[in-house]
Point group: C2
Chain length 172, copies 2
């Protein structure tokens, strides 16, 4: 599939089969993240691969009880390093949220290509996730995603029209 | 090409041909951004497509004189909307840097698929870019990229090893 086909295929999956993920498939999904670009190539990220059932259950609680998260055989937790990133993106911010988002979306697109479902989880209590997984104080949790074979066909959600999101030469 | 092939092919291009980009190619590149996921599907983004030579030259100055930016026929400026995004990512941050990064990387991967070069530009003076393009006060500039046909084969930059960027069940 081409990139645009995969982008069209990717949807937020909220029901998962318990089927396990072959190791070679998982490694290709992670490789897509590993190869992501980042500001100054600093790669300020770590991905925690949670397979333990009890830990997944705790993560559900930390994610406002979104129960489907624990249905998937794996939950991936994307972390960023504020102290090891480019500190001057646009001269006003640290690059880690951008860097980690790029790598996570690589992972998610490769998952879609492999027939796996994912769902960007932004609704979580970072402090709880950090406590559950032992994430150090100076590391941020950017997002999570379940990773598993879809047990439903998600609905297509609309998008803004092209003319709403682009303009030429000046902001309009 | 599969996603992983495109990810391997994508490199930061810092020399461009002046050849123009066919409209259908540009539209597929933008469509990849348009279809990106975002927190609560709020799509808090706008992409400014700069073709005007004088404006491109001004952007070079706002980007710490990275001259190659203006070689490309198009410069794309990715903007985010702090007032129209999910305000509680992880219960600690607004989602716009993440949302815009995802959409921009979609654009960049589709560009690679089309044989176009890009380069994430994070080294810029946001205040200057905003002034040049008339970006409103409540809108943020997240990043820029030139978009054009590569005039060189960029070097492969290394990446951390897989075992450095992943861990299992707990942060390690």
């Amino acid at each position: 599939m081409g990139v645009l086909d995969v982008i069209r295929k990717r949807k937020s999956v909220r029901k998962y089969k318990s089927d396990s993920i072959p190791e070679d498939v998982l490694m290709r999904v992670l490789e897509a993240a590993r190869l992501a670009p980042s500001a100054k190539n600093l790669q300020p990220w770590k991905f925690i691969i949670v397979k333990d059932e009890k830990i997944k259950e705790k993560l559900v609680e930390a994610c406002l009880n979104q129960r489907f998260i624990a249905e998937a055989p794996i939950v991936i937790v994307a972390c960023g390093f504020p102290n090891e990133c480019y500190a001057k993106q646009g001269r006003y911010m640290k690059s880690w949220p951008i860097d980690v988002a790029i790598a996570m979306e690589h992972l998610i697109l490769q998952a879609a290509e492999e027939g796996l479902g994912t769902c960007w989880i932004g609704a979580f209590e970072e402090s709880k996730v950090k406590e559950i997984l032992g994430v150090p104080e100076n590391v941020k949790v950017v997002a999570l995603t379940p990773l598993g074979y879809p047990a439903h066909e998600p609905k297509d959600r609309g998008r803004k029209k092209m003319e709403e999101i682009i303009c030429y030469d000046r902001y309009q």
